[in-house]
Amino acid sequence: MRWPWFSREPREQEFDEEIQAHFAMAVRDRIERGESPEAAEQAARREFGNRTRIHEITREVWRWNWLDRIWQDVRYGLRMMRRAPAFTAVAVLSLALGIGANTAIFSLINTLMLRLLPVREPEQLVELLHQFPNEPRLNADFDAYLHLRDNNQVLSGLIAASRPHSSQVSVEDSETESIDAQYISGSYFEVLGVQPAIGRLIGPADDSETADPVAVVSWSYWQSRFNLDPAIVGTQIRFRDSPVTIVGVTQPEFFGIPPPALAQIWVPLSTDVLIGGAATSHGMAMIGRLKPGVSLDQAKAELSTLYFQTFDQAKLKTDYYLSRLKFDLEPARASPTLLRDRFARPLLFVMAVVGLLLLIACTNVASMLLARGAAREREMALRVALGAGKIRLLRQMLTESLLLSTAGTLIGAGLAYFGAGALVRIIASGRMIGLPRALEIPVEPDSRVLLFTTGVALLTGVLFGLVPALRAMSAAPASSLRAAGKGVETRFGRLFGNSLVVSQVALSVLLLSAAGLFLHHLSNLRDGLGFEQNNLLLLRLDPEGSGYEAEELSNASRQLLDRLETIPGVRSAAFSGMTPISGAGWSQHVNVEGYQDKPGERRYLSLNAVSPGYFETYGTPLLAGRNFTFQDYGGPRVAVINQTMARFYFGDGNPIGKRFTIEGDEEPYDIVGVAGDAKYIDPQEPTLKTIYLPRLRGSNFTLRTDAAPAAIVGEVRRAVSDVLKGVKIDRVTTMADQVDAAMVPERLTALLSVVFGALGSLLAAIGLYGLLAYTVARRSNEIGIRMALGATRGDATRMILWDALRMVAAGLVLGIPIALWSKRFAASVMEDLPIGNPAPIALGATAMVVVALLAAYLPARRAASVDPIVALRHE
């Protein structure tokens, strides 16, 4: 069989010739019969009928499949696109933005929430969690691990794994480096069903204090540190100052679970016990594999019973909090539950936002197509008159819109690729609740993303193409041919075009007010921190292995504090056990003298050990009493409390001189001062009742600088190595970064909703502009007549502006109630949104009016410059 498109041109020519011959013979016959040449030709032509149609039907015979027909439509569509480059560019770009945004967000959702773990039968895996009332779900208590593992009938395996934890490693005699280590139970790899790339993986026998200490490293670490040298198996390295032997390497796609834990080295839990149990204190995840046929509920019921057996049974009944503790089981087939809990809602919001954006883009292109369809009505009518089938026309129009959406998708996918990368960098700059480390998330497009994008492209193509296509199909040749170019437009066409713009305006108002809402929320969080976050440099030391005794370290810390304050550009320096918004905290049970706890009241209070310069450095005001002095350190027990605590325990009374005890220690503390409220662990939480104690314990220094903190980092490092020899610097960062890291979901939502809101209103502006420009072109006769009858240029301008404003007004009438309703909906899903504030919606509405007037400006000018003579002559 010949491929039709290779032989297309010769066959067409041949057929032309054949028809030509037929025609010539027919004329000749008629002349021979005695007709005049002219009459003969006319008669033959009439007899012949519609030549194009014959051509088309005959060609159809040779079509060997539908692909061929589509190819022809596509070529025609491409020709139409080339013929209107501005139209094509705007349409494709609108769609690219819409589709790109959707693809980017979806690939993020895919990565964070849908992608499966690279392990055997991941759908059997479950994560063990528990939850106190009004708190996020947390990992279930690791103390229950052995009891659960050894007594359950529902799991084929239960493993425990620490959060990856930065650890010092040295290979041979090279410099030590920090890599992320995950401490795992011996059955970890076995239960997950992961295979080694080379060597062997850790097995149950390795997880014993008598076994030789071993480790497994990741492929990426093997690659970067050992150049994939197979001799790595059997190599001895120093892991946190004790020797371990590397026995194997994991496959490249395995990074540890629960993701996004990116571990570079795995060691058995027994190793952790040997080095003092540091890792388990950073939180342990427990993951089980359900036995085949066991349902989630069944497993949950049994494990829950077992779990609560490990608690103090008396306390379980009487303790307010413990009695309300819930055990939970979550499928771990996709991403880590805790990460999902944190990002799911913001991401779904953003997904809704980009969905709206795409809708705006679609409406935009639809209204442009419709306006153009009116311009092409003559063409369509002609084609119908020439015998083009209606289905054929519909197919052609849909092909054209699908071409637009395909082009938009290709560009959009490119945008999404970079966009998703940038978004991931933002997410990666964040930390999770209770996890003071950054995350890393590999985002790669997979088949699911591809499927999604293709689906979106098809849907949009049909969505914005269908109505214009149906309109084209119903084109009545006679009336259209007569009317086209004379500015007659059907009532339906005008109404539909207007309603598209109106809905664009409404959607944009919705997007803009969402943007305002999320921005406002973000700035509320920043303003509510209770300290001045800019120009603060944070320095964390790692005294482990330095050989300093606690007492010594405390004295040296004070020396370092003095030294740091002498650095030029440093206004003040402070020392603290914790830095705010680091994701970690210190809390204890506290009894305030003279205060009777109500049953079920939480007496856990947050504490921090600080130096006297702390409040000054952070810019947190002292509201009453006095600050610490260095005489307080090691002297009589005193404390400063925050306002929330003062108000809670003492109401309007004076807290100075009142006393409290910390549980487990009967000697009381005197309250000597009250400080302003400040956020402690997370910016999103309500202010915690906080106690500041004068102690030099911990290893965090904070510097208040005059200018950008980065400039003095070198000086700071030198000061540390001078004063505290052998103590490593664990981390140098700024408070601004630390705060940013804690507000990733909010920043992400705000950033994206602002960007997409702006894009949405830009698209609406383009839509409005297009419609008005088209209106002016169409009504130039009318405007000309009006002007000839005495209307001024101002009248013409006003007419067009009035048109624009009417549409915007209609859009606002539609959009504002939807925005109000969505706000309430958003607040029901996301806590603490500042929905009481009407400013965002008002701002969005104002912005739309401004945008509309801008979009209307050019068409209005053009209307004003209509020359009545020219317009009328045109008639």
Binding site: E14, F15, E17, E18, I19, A21, H22, A24, M25, A26, R28, D29, R46, E47, F48, G49, N50, R53, I54, I57, T58, E60, V61, W62, G387
Partner: protein
Amino acid sequence: MARNEHPRNRVDLLQGTLDMLVLQTLRWKPQHGYGIGQAIRAGSDDFFQIETGSLYPALHRLEKRGWIESQWRTSEHNQRAKYYQLTAEGQKQLTHEHSRWNEMSAAISRLMNPANNEGQTS
């Protein structure tokens, strides 16, 4: 759609009948499209005037099926034209269709003229 100036054109040939007529026309000698059209018209005493829009698709369809083949030649009036001729395959098809046609028309006659049987079928 197209103005209806040749009422007899509108006689809708039974599906496949035109194909059979074309094959029948080409039984003895090769012919070009116009010639085929004229032959059918003359052979049916002007009853069938085959539209060009039906004829050419039919010709191309038959060619695609391999029942006829084509060749460019010069006509008696020195006009280059595409001549179609029957293939062996086409010959077989014609025989088959012819016998089927006979059976069918006999059956239809019987149905349409139930009173006067046998003798009347000419």
